[in-house]
Point group: C2
Chain length 405, copies 2
């Protein structure tokens, strides 16, 4: 009868109101009836987290991060209790736990803590008693008993980490989309759902703007080989399996096209072309806590060169301040910003063994008169910075070029 | 400089919105500036608890009590974090804790748990570091790490228990009234605030319908001799001190008049007048979890008698069901209910040494043509059951009779 353990994670939109909580309960119970053991991770109800953040900002624009975690962790605690009640209503046994109660031990980096250890003894006890276990996502506790939260996508991380700790057969991430698509269906209606994708491809997709799962959770899943199934909480279609090796036809080179409009381009002009100069700039920016992404330095024909890089739009004022200071220190020239950019990328494990993928990409963009401002490549992706207004057109052009429809 | 420790408790209406939270922060900081150490206990914001209860009832009419506590405890956790942020904003150090974090250990009687033990180590550590300590009221944790709540008035109980555990010099209960009055000022505008009242008097006042503090907290305060100061969070007037001995002029016999319209009267007719019969009835009712209050049995001239008692209106259908069954078992007659009653009471430590207080009460009611249906007396109170419509008139009559204005 026992078919093994599944970890299921339901996001905020899946538990946004009473009716949806009841639907989640029904779905969980269906799996229980089939003979699975279940650990269910829930996010806070709908907009609860945003509302709590807004409340805190009215009180203190720069709230203590420890107190912020104390505040925000209540959202997931409440939704897990409500889901337990909804499962009871269907006549099944269920018990909810906070992150602290199940021993999700984290470091003390409040608002973005890292999981150090999971004891999960309470979960194992409850599973032995045939209970459905519900765990408040997004949270943990330090060894000193302070409540922490895990940052953006934290509930996914809770689910993946529990799947690892409990050796679950799979970790289902329920969301408001059917799975991972070849590109954003709102941009290209011909986008197709991918039945399988590798961790590495998904990591590129996630970091490049696909909103399905945060990179951190996928990294952890990859590290511990946790099989993830991303699927919709609103229907019963199979979603996308994320695993080490994707089952896929050999010729299917590219798995997806992504678009990211949340970056800005910064250019430092007239940088002295000496060893160590770039290191100086980027170590300053990194100390400021900004994640710089693409970095392009033109080959220098004189003693000076331009360095461009992209950074998250949210960090613009901070990164400009730091960069200007660093530029002055090394005797460089002006620092320019460009917010009118978009990054379009193609992702696919297959591309590294298929020559000509980059050329095919550039020619597709060129056919549409889309100018490429920066290029960066990785083992499994190629990204181009283009004008923001051409973003959607570029996605459709590449989707067609690589026969993804 | 160190003037000792004060525990301050702010109820839901005192932290109902951002502005009020900020006001509470200001008041706390004023005391800190004066040199006091401070432990602040907060309730959930305004209607949060009611909203959570309503949510849970939509999901499950009979929610698990363990999950209910998991749900409701989030309200106080959130408000304590927000108050900490508000105090930080004023430039003072503060740290918030859940009941679990400060080691408020309770039994496993979910939704109305009793405090067994308080370690308070974390509070002492934080006080040593000169921090203002904020504790989420109303909650604790079992030895098995399940979250519990303490039932109605639970935040008061948290405050009183912490005042005891930390040997605080006083426990201030901030509320939306100025203190304890001789009677409800909405009924008798001449009602006067009492500067002092004894635990016993306050217990009578609380159980008889004065809404200032729940009886449980006062019982604990009395047991451990914790001095309570009930006062308004909206002004700086001195409130009412509740302690063992009230400083008061000898002739001030009666401290207050109370009115309770939330009871019903049940009468069992033709009860066989045999030993043990009353015990049988009331043990059944008590097993049903109903708190019966006044019990009156007429002297029997035949072999049968009538027994009347009062019970909370909320328990009416339950108590009728149990009583009818018990009446049938012992061969008694009909069971009658009367919802058209009110209880008016006078309370005062002085009355036991002053003869004629009861007679004075009855004559005041009689002068107003108010018929008395039942009478009960205790060491420090006399209560009469009268028709509901005469409740307010009776209060004013007694207030005047005993010169309370």
């Amino acid at each position: 009868m026992a078919k093994g353990l599944i970890v299921q994670k339901f996001g905020g939109s899946s538990v946004a109101n009473v009716e949806r909580i009841q639907n989640v309960a029904k779905r969980v119970v269906e799996y229980k009836k089939k003979g699975y053991d279940l650990v269910v991770v829930v996010s806070a109800l709908g907009d609860t987290t945003d509302e709590l953040i807004s409340l805190s900002e009215q009180i203190n624009k720069h709230p203590s991060e420890r107190e912020m975690d104390m505040l925000l962790s209540t959202g997931e605690q409440a939704s897990s209790a409500l889901l337990a009640m909804a499962i009871h209503k269907l006549g099944f046994e269920a018990i909810s736990f906070t992150g602290a109660q199940v021993g999700i031990i984290t470091d003390t980096d409040f608002t973005k803590a890292k999981i150090i250890d999971i004891s999960a003894d309470k979960i194992k006890d409850a599973l032995k008693k045939k209970k459905i276990v519900i765990v408040a996502g997004f949270q943990g506790i330090t060894r000193n008993q302070d409540i922490t939260t895990l940052g953006r996508g934290g509930s996914d991380l809770t689910a993946v980490a529990l799947a690892k700790a409990l050796s679950a057969r799979t970790c289902e991430i329920y969301t408001d989309v059917d799975g991972v698509y070849t590109t954003d269906p709102r941009i290209e209606p011909k986008a197709k759902k991918l039945p399988h994708i590798t961790y590495d491809e998904m990591l590129e997709m996630a970091s490049l703007g696909a909103q399905v799962m945060q990179a951190r959770s996928i990294e952890v899943a990859k590290k511990f080989n946790v099989i993830i199934h991303v699927r919709s909480s609103f229907n019963k279609h199979e979603g996308t399996i994320i695993s080490k090796e994707a089952k896929r036809m050999e010729e299917f080179v590219i798995s997806g096209v992504t678009l990211n409009k949340n970056e800005v381009k910064i250019t430092i002009c007239d940088v002295p072309d000496k060893p160590g100069v770039a290191a100086k700039i980027f170590s300053k920016i990194s100390e400021g806590g900004v994640n710089v992404d693409m970095i392009v330095q033109n080959v220098s024909h004189t003693r000076q060169t331009d360095i461009s890089f992209t950074a998250p739009k949210a960090d613009l004022s901070k990164v400009m301040r730091i960069t200007k200071k660093a530029a002055a220190n090394i005797g460089a020239g002006k620092v320019l910003k460009d917010e009118d950019i978009a990054r379009v990328s193609i992702v696919g494990v297959g591309m590294k063994t298929h020559p000509g993928v980059a050329a095919k990409m550039f020619s597709a963009l060129s056919k549409h008169d889309i100018n490429i401002e920066m290029i960066s490549t990785s083992e499994i992706s190629i990204s181009c910075i283009i004008k923001k207004k051409s973003g959607e057109e570029a996605v459709r052009a590449l989707h067609a070029q690589f026969n993804l429809a």
